[in-house]
């Protein structure tokens, strides 16, 4: 059913008229032109489409757009503020925590929601939270290092 949907996207108010049953991923990538969230499997297994809705990581390929009414959506494009990278983005660069880069947006945003819930995760806690995000190139070791380094960097509430 076509309906008007108001929400905030990367801090900016958005008003959209579309079928509320459509999945957020396609609305972001097609209607709103934000291609940072990727299609990987379409069934919520891989996490390449991960975005934040009210600071919780969700699988946007499984998330009907009617459910974002009045909420705040953040995609990878909204993570760097005023031209400065988020500590997670910096840490992913500094730890070479990516190869082909296709899973990277989802990895970073899932890690972001982890650090909001748990500012100082242990290695095991990082693994547990990241387990449903797939990386085929095998950058896992570096991704864990990057997340822990970012957590360290953010201590003292520099950025969240």
């Amino acid at each position: 059913m076509t309906e008007a949907i108001h929400f905030k996207l990367n801090g900016k108010p958005i008003r959209l008229t579309t079928d509320g049953e459509r999945m957020l991923l396609w609305v972001l990538r097609t209607d709103l032109g934000l291609t940072g969230a990727k299609f990987g499997c379409g069934e919520g297994f891989c996490g390449a489409c991960t975005v934040l809705v009210d600071n919780k990581a969700v699988r946007s390929c499984q998330f009907p757009v009617k459910n974002i009414k009045g909420k705040e959506v953040m995609t990878i494009e909204g993570l760097a503020k005023d031209g400065s990278l988020h500590p997670l983005q910096k840490a992913f660069i500094e730890h070479d925590a990516l190869q082909c880069g296709f899973c990277t947006s989802g990895m970073i945003l899932n890690a972001y929601s982890l650090l909001l819930e748990n500012a100082k995760p242990t290695r095991e806690e990082v693994i547990q939270k990241m387990d449903e995000n797939f990386c085929r190139c095998g950058s896992h070791t570096r991704i864990i290092q990057a997340i822990q380094a970012a957590a360290q960097e953010m201590k003292g509430g520099k950025r969240g």
């Binding site: 097609t30 990727k38 990987g40 379409g42 983005q89 070479d96 190869q99 082909c100 880069g101 296709f102």
Partner: protein
């Protein structure tokens, strides 16, 4: 540095090339290049006897034009490093222009860990040539002898008066100097390196962590439509009837059909999917002949004549020397590439010209295929390769790009084709299922005396053994690429280190079984039967880092070792595993990998590739196999086809055993090849269970436990 995509026409491109110093050079498969010489497909005003060039422009920026592509393996960084090193410019001033068939000269494709190995030396030579040209210009400009000049960061200066200087950019102003690299200019010694061998961050990282990096599916054109294509339920199924009426009625839906190609188009991809689901189609299904259980027997039955890969001595003579003879059979399943980015392409047709943005490892092959499919002249087809979301050999095939081009022509609008995960599993060209039979023997001395090896359909690469064996024979029956008709029920092809994963698993398992028979420690047994110094060195290096102490297997420790020579890169791996015999679950706790890949250009990049190989290799070792019944692929998504994830992660340590006087060898593939063998050997050491089939799933572990 950035990955440059010049949105320019050919005329503008030639203009863009008009100034500066340009060095043309060639690399790699010269035979293939010669065959290609003079053929269609080159920008007409460019010479045709080279396959790469670099240019130092008036703005001081350096661009390298190559048909190679970046898919995560990091050549965008390592190639730029080599260029910057030899030219003495900052890494940040280098632009890599990759995989654009209008801007870049012909290239065979990006695969086989070839980019750094084949491309590196001529690229460095071309850069050295350009540097020599610039130095001559500088000598003239500064009125100084060459011996008095030095270069740093693209600025040539007087050694005695550094303020007397001129930049590369200034030197090239208003000039067009072309050089064809024919002689080999002297290259820097390893001791002079400032950029090569130093860890640098990936040059594409910033774009990739900010979501700005564009992949084929991220390109947007005005008026573009998204296609979803009707697919058969099984390979070889014939369309009997089709009812599109329910889909026709949907708003904004366009249905196109061209022979076997039936697609729905919409300006939103999800709406196209919705419409596709409403199409009713009936098929005649081919008779199911084989499945994932009977495939091995089938392959043995249809195997063509043996082809000898290598032999020495006489197997019968060798058998007489043996005090212990072992005859074993090893099996490996079909494995998918399963890149997170599925095959994707966007095609735009204007008149008789086509432009296609494609996720491909072979843009120049795609160009020919699309030209043929559309009936266009190849010079009117341009392939642009944005970042590729990994390939591992799977994106050497361009079916999706041809589909997008055909649909764009039919629709009269730009069309994107992006395969679903189900389509990706269906049309993937799998690593072939294979069987390896080995008969080998040892003498009382603990020396291997004969080795009789036959690989069925796995591929010959990596089948030649490197141990000291007086009597040996290696043969192959059926190949991984040009397979015998009637052998594989669906497409097979190159998968990260083609052939070598299967051959290394079989060889290193057999070596371990012999070591155990001989009552010897697996590492000592290998060292005793090896004279290759580089192999000795990587084995000793890995043992030292791992902390290996000699013991006969099974020792209960869960330690394994395996080694391989992959196209000149030597790799030795040790692993520690834990086996739960009740659940059949294997946890790999630690992997140590030593690799000798000649000169190392980017140590961080090399280590990352090794770690990636070790991690990815857990999959084909433990879980990954395609389930199928006849021509129907039963794996539709990542629920039944399990790829490695964070919770599987062992502690991974890498050792680079550098041979600096040896040119750089490939690093994107070698470290994956030991993973099947090393884990099989570690499982045996842990629990006394010998697994002969990959992947070593919980079910197979439990079966093996029952056999004891």
């Amino acid at each position: 540095m950035k990955k440059a995509h010049f949105p320019v026409s050919r005329r503008e491109f030639i203009k863009l090339l008009s100034g500066g110093v340009i060095v043309f050079f060639s690399y790699g498969d010269l035979k293939a290049l010669q065959e290609e010489r003079g053929r269609r497909g080159f920008p007409q005003s460019l010479p045709t006897d080279f396959n790469a060039f670099l240019r130092i422009g008036e703005d001081g920026r350096v661009a390298c034009f190559t048909g190679k592509i970046e898919m995560g393996q990091g050549v965008i960084t390592s190639l730029a490093q080599m260029l910057a090193e030899e030219l003495d410019v900052p890494l940040s001033s280098v632009d890599m222009v990759m995989g654009d068939t209008d801007l870049c000269p012909w290239d065979m494709g990006t695969f086989g860990s070839l980019s750094t190995r084949n491309f590196g030396p001529p690229l460095r030579a071309a850069a050295a040539e350009a540097r020599a040209v610039l130095m001559l210009l500088a000598a003239e400009n500064l009125q100084l002898p060459l011996s008095q000049l030095e270069v740093k960061d693209g600025v040539v200066f007087d050694k005695t008066r550094p303020e007397n200087k001129v930049s590369y950019g200034e030197l090239t102003k208003g000039k067009r100097i072309e050089r064809h690299l024919e002689t080999k200019p002297p290259l820097k010694n390893a001791s002079e390196f400032r950029i090569i061998g130093k860890p640098v961050f990936r040059q594409d990282a910033l774009e990739k962590v900010t979501g700005k990096a564009k992949y084929a599916g991220d390109i947007r054109l005005p008026g573009m439509l998204y296609a979803r294509i009707l697919r058969p339920p099984a390979h070889g199924a014939k369309l009997k009837s089709i009812d599109t009426s329910a889909a026709q009625g949907m708003k904004g839906i366009q249905i196109v059909q061209d022979g076997d190609l039936v697609a729905v188009l919409h300006e939103a991809p999800d709406m196209a999917s919705k419409a596709l689901a409403k199409i009713k189609a009936q098929y005649d299904l081919p008779e199911a002949k084989v499945d994932d259980k009977t495939i091995f027997e089938h392959l043995l039955n249809v195997a063509p004549e043996a082809r000898v890969i290598s032999q020495k001595g006489n197997i019968e003579e060798g058998e007489k020397l043996a005090s212990s003879v072992l005859e074993e059979t090893y099996y490996n399943s079909y494995v998918a590439h399963a890149t997170i980015e599925t095959h994707t392409a966007l095609a735009k047709i204007e008149g008789n010209k086509a432009t296609v943005w494609a996720s491909t490892q072979t843009p120049f092959t795609a160009k020919e295929e699309i030209a043929q499919a559309l009936g266009f002249s190849p010079e009117n087809v341009r392939i642009i390769t944005p970042f590729v979301g990994a390939g591992f050999g799977g994106k050497t095939r361009n079916k999706q790009a041809v589909e997008a081009a055909r649909l764009a022509k039919l629709a009269g609008k730009p069309v994107q084709v992006s395969w679903s995960r189900e389509e990706e599993f269906f049309y993937d060209t799998f690593r072939p299922a294979a069987v390896v039979k080995i008969k080998s023997g040892i003498a009382d001395s603990g020396k291997i005396v004969f080795w009789d090896y036959c690989v069925y359909f796995g591929g010959e690469r990596g089948s030649q053994q490197f141990y000291d064996v007086p009597h040996h024979r290696t043969v192959t029956r059926g190949d991984w690429m040009r397979s015998t008709p009637g052998s594989h029920p669906f497409g097979t092809g190159a998968w990260r280190a083609p052939g070598v994963n299967t051959n290394t698993f079989a060889r290193e398992s057999q070596i371990d079984i012999m070591a155990s028979k001989a009552g010897a420690d697996p590492l000592e047994f290998r060292l005793k039967n090896l004279s290759d110094e580089r192999m000795q060195r990587v084995l000793k290096a890995v043992a030292e880092k791992f902390g290996w102490t000699p013991s006969k297997a099974p020792s209960g420790r869960g330690f394994g070792v395996a080694c391989a020579d992959y196209l000149g890169t030597y790799v030795a791996t040790m692993a520690e595993v834990e086996v739960d015999k009740t659940s059949g679950r294997v946890q790999v706790k630690r992997v140590v990998c030593a690799q000798d890949m000649g000169l190392v250009i980017n140590p961080e990049g090399a280590k990352l590739q090794i770690e990636g190989c070790n991690t990815m290799g857990l999959g084909y070792a433990l879980t990954e196999e395609i389930h199928f019944k006849g021509d129907e692929i039963l794996d539709l998504n990542f629920d039944s086809y399990e790829i490695p994830r964070f919770s599987w992660l062992p502690k991974i340590e890498t050792v680079l055993v550098e041979t600096r006087d040896l040119p750089p060898q490939g690093g994107g593939e070698p470290a994956i090849v030991c993973m099947g063998g090393v884990i099989a050997n570690a499982i045996y050491d842990a629990a006394g269970l010998r697994l002969y089939q990959l992947p070593m799933t919980p079910e197979r572990i439990k079966e093996a436990a029952k056999r004891i």
